[in-house]
Amino acid sequence: MIVDVSAEVLENVRLSPEFNVLSLAAPAVARLTRPGQFVMVRVRPGLDPLLRRPFSVFEILRDDAGQPRGISLLNKIAGVGTGWLYRAEPGTRVDVLGPLGQPFAPVDPPAEAWMVAGGVGLAPFATLAEALALRGTSMTLFYGARTAEALYRTDLFERLGARLSLSTDDGSRGAHGRITGPLEQALDALDGRPVTIYACGPTPMMRAVSALAAHRDAPVFVSLEPVMGCGMGGCYSCVVRVQAGERGRFVRSCLEGPVFDASTLVWEALPAGH
């Protein structure tokens, strides 16, 4: 089921000049959301901007009795819409349509789950980590960012029992360099243990993860972030190429994704990303 709610902004925690976590009163959406699903957000009334913006559901917010009362978004300023959501004050409202898209399938023990996040690509993993924790699946968050300050909300994942493997471009926290470094080392140390990898971040990163894992026969599921006009399968704007026949074919990532088995994608046809 898909709902559209006019959600009050409950809280806006600015993590940096670029990132914030926006809490929204949207119990109906919160109740329905499965790990890795997204919502389409109309950032303000009126016709400018016209279209909604897609956002992963970051956290499911719960009241003291554990009942879903809303969702949060991990928002990174990219332009006008994300700029509004960065500045949104508590009390204002945004329209939230969802939940949408194919969720992650959380893997069961004894397989391990590795989540590989680059920057704002952390967003879909909080819901996945919750689901994994419920199943008792052992999990690791590989998380890379530019600097130590840009590694956000690792506490959420630690609380759910995830191991952390961090990296920063400047070496200020964790490994120095891209997150694919620690990932490759971990893969080399696997020693036959089964692992399922989930990745979200810049396209080149996801592609690299996919290549690394393919060598080791580890399944990889990526969450893509193409431009989306509707999120409902109506417009055919969000297509990505999947393997089929000689040339492959375009499928709508709002319906058949945003989560894809990395091995089914035609990576060359994916926009390099934003």
Binding site: M1, I2, D4, R42, L47, D48, P49, L50, L51, R52, D95, L97, P226, V227, G229, C230, M232, G233, G234, C235, Y236, S237, C238, V239, V240, R247, R249, F250, L255, A269, P271
Partner: protein, 309 residues
């Protein structure tokens, strides 16, 4: 509820609201959001005879109060549509308008034949106005003889109502409505999108892979209303109006200008639950103005010397 029915040729619609082609997938995608049988009609995505890949993304770009698209008519082809989607649409009780395309007149006719033989198609909308593809589309839609030829050829092969969809990218759209009428169309629909482009000033490249795209959304509404008004005066055929409809007032505006029914495209992207709001809004409008039937709005624009407003 007032009487919202309207008549398009031999076709009676339960209300004047039709989902616009290319903005509603094959209809089935929206079954979770809206009971398709409550719509006046569902115009499905443009179909060629064969499957089509469409253009490489990026395929859309947002513009002030509008958007450009260059989807390139990705589609499953008419045969798969009939086999895989039409049964579901029938089951859901949708009044199905199939938007048909062709690179040649023969292709239009072949697609029309296949659909005429299928069960559950209410009308054929002839897409002679897609600005995003090289073959077909504008090649017919921007020429009066091209328009006449396609329409009369399709007329010969089907008894379904045929509705040429006109392009706004012409000097005199009313003449295309007339050409359609003469060629045996049952109605005309307009507007398709305006040929347009957008450039990324940082990369100095077109924002769309296809370079050109079609402008839709509220931005174009005032031009679309004018064109619908011109066509409604030029022909006896019913006119199906569209272009930027997003509110009940917009629906009424098009009907006053002469549209018997309307289509909603871009606004459905923003709000897939728009349909119930527009339906109840229309009912409220009729009640407030004490108008018995939605059909009474059609062409009811009052041109009498406007009392100083």
């Amino acid at each position: 509820m007032r009487d919202l029915t309207v008549q398009i040729g031999s076709l009676r619609l339960t209300n004047p609201l039709i989902a616009a082609s290319g903005c509603f997938g094959y209809g089935v995608e929206y079954a979770g959001a809206i009971d398709l049988s409550t719509l006046g009609g569902v115009a499905v995505k443009g179909l060629f005879l064969a499957e089509r890949d469409g253009h490489a993304p990026p395929r859309i770009v947002e513009t002030p109060a509008g958007m450009l698209n260059a989807i390139g008519l990705q589609g499953i082809g008419v045969h798969r549509f009939v086999a895989e989607r039409l049964p579901e649409l029938r089951r859901l009780g949708a009044t199905v308008f199939v938007n048909i395309c062709g690179s040649t007149i023969d292709e239009y006719c072949e697609v029309a034949r296949v659909l005429s033989d299928a069960e559950g198609v209410a009308a054929l909308e002839l897409n002679i106005s897609c600005p995003n593809i090289k073959e077909g589309g504008l090649q017919f839609g921007c020429s009066l003889t091209g328009t006449h030829d396609v329409v009369s050829a399709v007329r010969k092969v089907t008894s379904l109502p045929i509705i040429p969809k006109l392009t706004p990218n012409v000097t005199d759209v009313a003449s295309f409505a007339r050409a359609s009428e003469e060629a045996g169309a049952d109605a005309v629909s307009l507007v398709n999108t305006f040929l347009a482009m957008a450039i990324d000033v940082e990369t100095r490249r077109p924002k769309l892979t296809n370079v050109l795209g079609g402008l839709s959304g509220p931005a174009i509404r005032p031009i679309a209303v004018r064109m619908v008004w011109e066509c409604a005066q030029a022909v006896k055929l019913p006119v199906i109006g569209m272009g930027g409809i997003a509110t009940t007032d917009d629906v009424v505006e098009f009907m006053l200008a002469g549209a018997t029914a309307v289509q909603v495209g871009t606004a459905n992207f923003v709000d897939p639950f728009i349909w119930t709001r527009l339906l109840s809004g229309l009912d409220t409008y009729l009640e407030r103005h004490d108008i018995g039937r939605a059909a009474d709005l059609v062409g009811a624009l009052d041109l009498g010397h406007p009392e100083p407003a």
